[in-house]
């Protein structure tokens, strides 16, 4: 495999991974606080729609992002209400949110734009464009590192960098702050937090809200950050579930989440390059079978190298004091 191909693969890896990563971190905050969230998909979808819709209407990607986040937060609030306040089944609530998002986005999009449940295409003014990092061109000639910096690291939208930045930030918040300590505690043993005089519900709502925020950014990225430019119905295409898988893969840890998502992104990038298989192994894989590749590889790695994943102990269970 030649050097350019590798660079391209890595470049694609990063782009593909970043919405997954944001969603995965969203799930991480929520599940670390003991709230399972299979509604990542729905929250991303709603944000994708609102972000694109408002970016189009206002001409500002940033305003779009804000509204997208607000939409995702609203769904988070529903999830919180169901699973925290009313101690409902978190999985059902997530399923309902996914349904709701899939339906509402199209209905409203059609109402507003009359373009068949899509938003109009965004021009470059109203979407997040690629940023060339400082010195990218100057460093390019440097062997190995130069092209990696200029081609792989540089030249993504701010949301990709936000996703990458979210990893250390999440790690820092979770493991270096009071809030993080309490949040992790509430996912392990809410009674410990309660008897320490801290409100379990408030913490969990906060966690769910952070999940909303991150899903909001992820959704906006899918619809308003280059190369994307607009909303198409169901455009999350199962990424919420993949993010969930990555979260388990990563055993609910931020850095591992980064690697898991990058790995998945890499497999997807590889899937787009059947020529590599032909060149390397002289192997022509039928395209339908090729698309199973990321999933097969994931299972193999999971079975071969990743041990048992122990979820947060209080995960999925509503905190009930009195039976």
């Amino acid at each position: 495999m030649d050097w350019t191909t590798i660079l391209l693969l890595l470049d694609s890896t990063l782009r593909t991974a970043s919405p997954l990563l944001l969603a995965c971190l969203a799930g991480l905050f929520s599940e670390r606080a003991g709230i399972f969230d299979i509604g990542l998909e729905g929250k991303m979808l709603v944000s994708a729609f609102l972000a694109a819709g408002f970016a189009y209407a206002t001409g500002s990607a940033w305003l779009g992002l804000l509204v997208g986040i607000a939409g995702a937060l609203l769904l988070s609030a529903v999830h919180g209400l169901a699973s925290i306040t009313f101690r409902g089944n978190q999985l059902i609530s997530g399923v309902a949110i996914n349904f709701l998002a899939a339906g509402l986005t199209v209905v409203i999009a059609e109402r507003w734009f009359r373009q068949g449940g899509r938003t109009p295409q965004l021009d470059s003014g109203s979407r997040f464009t690629e940023i060339t990092l400082p010195l990218a061109e100057t460093i390019r000639p440097v062997p190995v590192l130069g092209p990696i910096y200029a081609q792989v690291v540089s030249g993504h939208t701010i949301l990709v960098y936000a996703a990458l930045l979210a990893v250390p930030l999440s790690w820092w918040v979770l493991f270096r702050t009071r809030f993080g300590l309490r949040l992790r505690a509430v996912g392990e043993n809410p009674a410990a937090v309660d008897t320490a005089g801290v409100s379990v519900a408030r913490l969990r709502y906060a966690a769910v809200a952070i999940a909303g925020l991150l899903c909001g950014i992820a959704g906006a990225q899918l619809s308003t950050a280059e190369p994307a430019a607009g909303f198409v119905r169901d455009m999350t295409a199962g990424r919420g579930y993949i993010a969930l898988a990555a979260l388990i893969f990563a055993k609910w840890r931020p850095w591992a989440a980064l690697w898991a998502c990058l790995l998945f992104g890499f497999f997807q990038a590889l899937e787009a390059r059947p020529d590599i298989f032909v060149r390397l192994f002289d192997l022509r894989v039928p395209s339908a079978l090729l698309s199973a590749l990321p999933y097969v590889l994931t299972v193999i790695i999971l079975a071969g190298f990743v041990g048992r994943a122990i979820p947060p102990r209080a995960g999925g269970q509503p905190y009930v004091k009195e039976r």
Partner: protein, 309 residues
């Protein structure tokens, strides 16, 4: 009771043949001021249900788009001999059925020629939604067109996925486009429904050319969409509706010859299509129309001389 339209599972806004059919129906409704009934399938079981329902309520013609309705329709059509049915994209052999099929391979051949002529790198791309026979038909015609102009050209073909989500994943479309650009492609042809939105966008962003599909998508990125392979499902629907209950039955082949398929040329891409290009393609179109030039149809033997799947 007037005409009825049954849209296939992708829904009437699939940026593909359903949407095209919808546009044709809307055009008829606006022009005549009449209304029509419609149904968007959400489950396989509704195919029969919808056909029967409309037939029983007296609608005629009942127009359905999508090859998957062929088998159910072939069973139901004889039960309602008074009703006229129109099926788009498949052939059903029954006296009261009008089957409209398109020579997508011919249209794709033409845009393939344009792609090869516009390409400077000699590498062009194709992005399909799912790897299904219909899309292979597109790809195969396209590849033949490319090779006709430049026998040494490289054609890269990718498919988005294997679940229905593949038709609505513009992000994946973008990624595939970038991967093809990475391999040197400077023209990409998208036959992937909503996913194509991402393909065209990414092509425009990266200053390469793209080719739209089904309807004329040149306007999406003026000056950056080389052309669109138009498949006039809208016309087929419009005509059927206009003919009403007296619509002629039998097989209607919409090809280059009768403008059922073709390439789009308008103010948005005029600057991209040079006179020679236009001349060459129009010549080929004429040859196809006259039968002088036969573009191999993947469906005849399920192989493709210009591309392996």
């Amino acid at each position: 009771e007037g005409p009825a339209v049954i849209f296939d599972l992708g829904g009437k806004f699939d940026k593909s043949f359903n949407e095209s059919a919808y546009n044709g129906a809307q055009r008829w409704a606006e022009e005549t001021g009449q209304s029509y009934a419609e149904f968007e399938l959400t489950a396989e079981a509704q195919r029969e249900q919808a056909i029967r329902r409309f037939a029983e309520q007296g609608y005629s013609p009942i127009i359905m788009v999508g090859f998957m309705s062929a088998t159910p329709l072939s069973q139901i059509a004889p039960e309602y001999p008074e009703t006229k049915f129109v099926i788009v994209d498949a052939v059903v052999d029954a006296p009261n059925v009008r089957s409209v099929v398109f020579n997508e391979h011919e249209g794709s051949y033409l845009v393939g020629m344009l792609a090869a002529m516009a390409s400077e790198s000699g590498t062009v791309g194709f992005i399909g939604g799912m790897d299904i026979p219909l899309i292979r038909k597109f790809a195969c015609g396209y590849a033949q067109g490319v090779k006709a102009v430049n026998p040494d050209a490289t054609i890269i073909a990718n498919f988005t996925g294997t679940t229905p989500a593949a038709w609505n994943d513009p992000a994946r479309g973008s990624e595939l486009t970038l991967a093809q650009i990475g391999q040197g492609a400077d023209v990409v042809y998208a036959a992937a429904g909503g996913t194509g939105v991402g393909v065209l966008q990414t092509a425009a962003d990266n200053d390469i050319l793209s080719i739209g599909v089904d309807s004329n998508q040149n306007y999406l990125h003026p000056g950056e969409v080389l052309t669109s392979m138009v498949k006039r499902v809208d016309n087929a629907v419009y005509e059927a509706m206009a003919a009403g209950a007296d619509v002629e039955t039998g097989v209607v082949v919409m090809g280059v010859a009768n403008d059922g398929v073709g390439y789009a040329l308008d103010e948005h891409n005029a600057s991209l299509i040079t006179e020679e290009m236009k001349a060459a393609v129009d010549a080929a179109a004429a040859q196809i129309a006259s039968g002088e030039l036969v573009v191999h149809d993947y469906m005849t033997d399920e192989t493709c001389p210009a591309l392996t799947f």
